[in-house]
């Protein structure tokens, strides 16, 4: 929070508007000292006179000093704005906290209340309130505060209900913190910032509204107000046009200052929000650090034939940062995938394995680009192809199976239409041919009822089924190379085994080359012919699977193997506890 203030003070718009508003408040507070004349003393000789040495801004229609009245009117505006803000904030924030944190009853009441208030036409309600409550501006603005409270409610409610589901709030409850404490520590912190931004905007609105009411002549004529002065100026606009200028400036500049302050606050806040996103690319905890030494290459079995399908040579991928430097995430990677071979790319998070896969597909996230090396696929360098040529290649020659099946299917189209589209485009099939082929493929990937899945929307199928659908889509155009990025990580173990079986069968059946990105040595052992181990953007060891599993030579590879648990002994029962093994109905002997 302190950093927000500090950054706001460094923001030119923020500091400018803040200084102006502080001046406004100061002039309101010290109005009796600053005003050269009594605001309510009229000088009959000086009605509508222009600026002079005694009356710096001139006199109004009744002969009051304009400057003094302006200063005293500022007091009214500031108090009214404060009143509106306090009422709206207290009502809206309390209701939003209750509804967001406790839900159920409070949520229903809150939703009904805000809808009702927002459905009321504010001006009509204010005019009606005026006629009932009399000319007092304070009563009218109190009503306005209630009317605008839903704005606070909405902001606070959505922030709180998002935080409510966070694990750290659950953890705080388990830690034994009381509800008020949890709200104070974990919930208010997220509410604070958006509420302050909103407060600045609402303050601007309430300055305008209170001035509007006074301009319409609905305010207390005994108290000087910006709106009232504006009204006087309009009455005398032909004799003394300057009279309109002063209150207009006061109203306009204050509103603008509030709006700009709100914008500056929001800009600075959004910059805070951007910071946590960076954490994903934070360097992971790796124990073993190695100097960029030569890649350890295990000897190949000589009888292995097969032509090179994909040859990646000295590939480097970098991300440009704001200061113009390039951060390399993949460095000097060389690997080959032969026809009919599965090449595993294994490494921990942040090792650059997914970046390597994406750069082969030329689908790097924004900011990322190839900074060196070549990617040769069937004799063509993918790095030099135009976007159009690459699009023609993707899906047809090179297919992709992602990690998160659900987020890779468009929720607003049926599974079938997403399968048919690429086939019609790449293979030029007719609608009915494409459908027949899609149904065949769905049956091929082991979906029990292809017709039903074809017509289903993505949310209607399970994660394992969705992955089968994506695999069906990937092989639909008979690709030569399949790039699978952690294809089973999001799946349950039993489903993973089925999907691995499927990938193996399809790969053998179609003699596809496959690049399998994974962090799981079991998956590599199950599926791959050759494997490359990646660490911090480099390949440290590569060779046939059996050779590497039999004798890992690089320290990092060895440390990964040591971290594998399967060979560990089961812990067995704790001494003193005799296992009953007879608990529950569902237990089978």
């Amino acid at each position: 929070m302190t950093s927000l203030w500090r950054r706001l003070l460094r923001n030119p718009t923020g500091i400018g508007s803040l200084i102006f508003l502080v001046l406004v408040v100061l002039s309101a507070v010290f109005a009796p000292l600053l005003a050269p004349h009594d605001p309510n003393t009229a000088s009959a000789y000086d009605t509508l006179s222009g600026p002079s040495a005694t009356y710096w801004l001139g006199n109004d229609g009744s002969g009051h000093d304009v400057l003094s009245r302006l200063l005293f009117a500022t007091r009214l505006s500031v108090t009214l704005t404060g009143e509106t803000l306090v009422i709206a904030a207290v009502l809206g924030i309390v209701a939003g906290l209750l509804a967001g944190y406790y839900g159920k009853f409070f949520e229903a009441v809150g939703a009904a209340g805000t809808s009702l208030l927002q459905a009321l036409p504010a001006i009509v309600v204010l005019l009606a309130a005026k006629s009932v409550l009399g000319p007092s501006d304070f009563a009218a603005m109190a009503v306005f505060g209630v009317l605008i409270a839903p704005a606070f409610y909405r902001v606070v409610y959505s922030a709180v209900s998002a935080v409510r589901g966070e694990l750290y709030v659950d953890a705080a409850r388990v830690s034994g913190l009381s509800d008020p404490r949890i709200i104070g520590r974990h919930v208010l912190t997220v509410v604070r910032a958006p509420a302050i931004v909103l407060a600045a905007n609402i303050a601007g609105i309430s300055v305008a509204i209170s001035a509007g009411l006074d301009f319409l002549g609905l305010g207390d004529p005994a108290i000087p107000s910006w709106g009232g002065m504006l009204n006087d100026g309009f009455t005398n606009i032909f004799t003394q046009p300057l009279l309109v200028l002063w209150p207009s400036l006061a109203i306009g500049l204050t509103c603008i200052a509030f709006a700009l302050l709100g914008n500056a606050l929001r800009d600075e806040l959004e910059r805070v929000d951007a910071a946590p996103k960076r954490r994903r690319r934070a360097t992971p905890a790796t124990t073993v650090t190695v100097a960029p030494a030569a890649v350890i290459t295990h000897d190949e079995a000589p009888e292995k034939p097969g032509t090179d399908l994909l040859v990646v040579q000295h590939l480097s991928v970098g991300y440009g940062s704001a200061d113009g430097s390039v951060k390399t995430v993949v460095e000097d990677v060389t690997l080959t995938v032969r026809r009919g071979e599965v090449h595993g790319l294994i490494g921990e998070s942040g090792s650059g394995k997914t970046q390597t896969a994406f750069s082969i597909l030329r689908l790097l996230p924004s900011g990322g680009r190839l900074v060196g090396g070549s990617i040769t696929f069937e004799g063509r360098d993918l790095a030099n192809l135009s976007e159009k040529q690459m699009t023609a290649l993707r899906g047809k020659k090179i297919a992709y199976v992602p990690q998160e099946p659900m987020s890779n299917l468009d929720p607003s189209f049926t599974v079938g239409s997403q399968l048919v589209e690429p086939m019609r485009l790449h293979l030029g099939l007719s609608k009915s041919d494409a459908k027949a082929r899609a149904l065949d493929l769905l049956a091929r990937v082991g979906i029990p009822n292809p017709g039903r899945t074809y017509a289903a929307y993505p949310h209607e199928v399970s994660g394992g089924m969705a992955q089968r659908v994506l695999i069906a889509g990937a092989i639909s155009c008979d690709p030569d190379l399949l790039i699978a990025d952690e294809p089973t990580t999001a799946l349950d173990v039993t489903v993973q085994a089925e999907v691995l079986d499927l990938l193996r069968d399809l790969q053998r059946e179609r003699q596809m080359g496959m690049l399998l990105v994974t962090h799981n040595f079991g998956v590599v052992a199950d599926l791959c012919d050759r494997v490359s181990v990646m660490q911090s953007g480099r390949i440290v060891e590569t060779g046939p699977v059996r050779a590497i599993f039999a004798g890992p030579r690089h320290a990092y590879t060895r440390s990964l193997f040591e971290a594998i648990l399967p060979d560990a002994e089961a812990r067995g029962a704790l001494p003193g506890i005799t296992s009953s093994g007879t608990l529950g109905e569902g237990v089978t002997a």
Binding site: A171, G176, V493, D501, A525, R546, I564, P566, A568
Partner: protein, 287 residues
């Protein structure tokens, strides 16, 4: 048998389903289980099997429809807020995701003193305790002044473990505490769990989808499938020679990191699946 620490009996958890007169979703259908002092009970199952719900029910974060959960002979499934808070010293939690289980805007010290504040511990004392805790989970003692985002996933999980340890609990519910971590980090965090158990005698209810992780850490293991426990016994039996058909499938589905062994296991799995399919068909015919 020594005194049981936690006993879960025939617990049922229903979640209401949106919509008029729709039957509720049964997340747990009558589950029973016990945890002894200083013991680690593994709870293994796939997504949607109800293992996380069971952990949350023990913590009072999931609504219990029927059945009982007793902690040291005292019923805890229907406690009031205040009574539940008093239990915080004995029952703690480590969640799966080290990214969302720590408030990003609090420093590590603020996070660790949280349970202590709730007990109204003196500030000086709390600060000393934070240093002890950081030491216990092998984090540098100056970590207290830093924010969670400055730490890697494994280090964050250590902070979460330290927070759980702050009040010297008797039982920690661990909800997939290592599944978001890299392989090598995972092994080190698991060793930390073992080390802490050896030193403090805390019991774990360890929820995981990974049979290997559960085998490594647990004394006894319960296998969950569709809201029920299908197999329950010592880890050396359940995770090595499983008897229930589902556990057998689960056991053989996890690939081993050895190409030759994995080929064998794959063949075994295909045999088992064929056999189970045959048995199912037989049962259908008999029925």
């Amino acid at each position: 048998m020594t005194e049981t620490l936690l006993e879960v009996r025939d617990i049922v958890v229903d979640y209401p389903v949106k919509g008029f007169r729709k039957p509720p979703f049964r997340a747990l259908g009558g589950v029973s289980l016990e945890v002894g002092p200083g013991e680690c009970v593994g709870l293994v199952g796939e997504s949607g099997s109800g293992k996380t719900t069971l952990g949350r029910a023990v913590l009072g974060l999931a609504p219990v429809t029927s059945g009982s959960i007793t902690y040291r002979g005292r019923e805890i499934s229907r406690l009031r807020h205040r009574e539940r808070r008093a239990l915080a010293a004995d029952l703690q939690v480590v969640f799966q995701d080290p990214y969302t289980s720590l408030n990003p805007s609090l420093t590590i010290e603020q996070i660790l003193t949280e349970p202590l504040i709730a007990r109204k511990t003196d500030k000086q004392l709390a600060r000393r305790r934070v240093r002890e805790l950081l030491d216990a989970v092998h984090l540098p003692s100056d970590a207290g002044n830093r924010l969670p985002r400055e730490f890697s996933g494994g280090q964050r999980q250590r902070v979460a473990i330290a927070r759980a340890l702050a009040l010297d609990p008797k039982l920690i519910v661990c909800d997939e505490p290592v599944s978001a971590l890299d392989l090598s980090t995972q092994a080190r965090v698991l060793d930390l769990f073992k080390e802490i158990q050896a030193r403090t005698g805390v019991a774990y209810l360890f929820v995981s989808h990974d049979l290997d992780v559960v085998r490594y850490l647990s004394h006894r293991v319960a296998v969950m499938y569709r809201g029920e426990i299908v197999e329950w016994g010592p880890a050396s039996q359940v995770t090595v020679r499983p008897e229930h058909p589902y556990t057998q499938r689960l056991f053989l589905a996890a690939p081993v990191a050895d190409p030759a062994k994995q080929e064998q296991r794959r063949a075994e799995r295909h045999r088992l699946l064929a056999l189970q399919r045959e048995q199912d068909e037989q049962m259908e015919i008999n029925a």
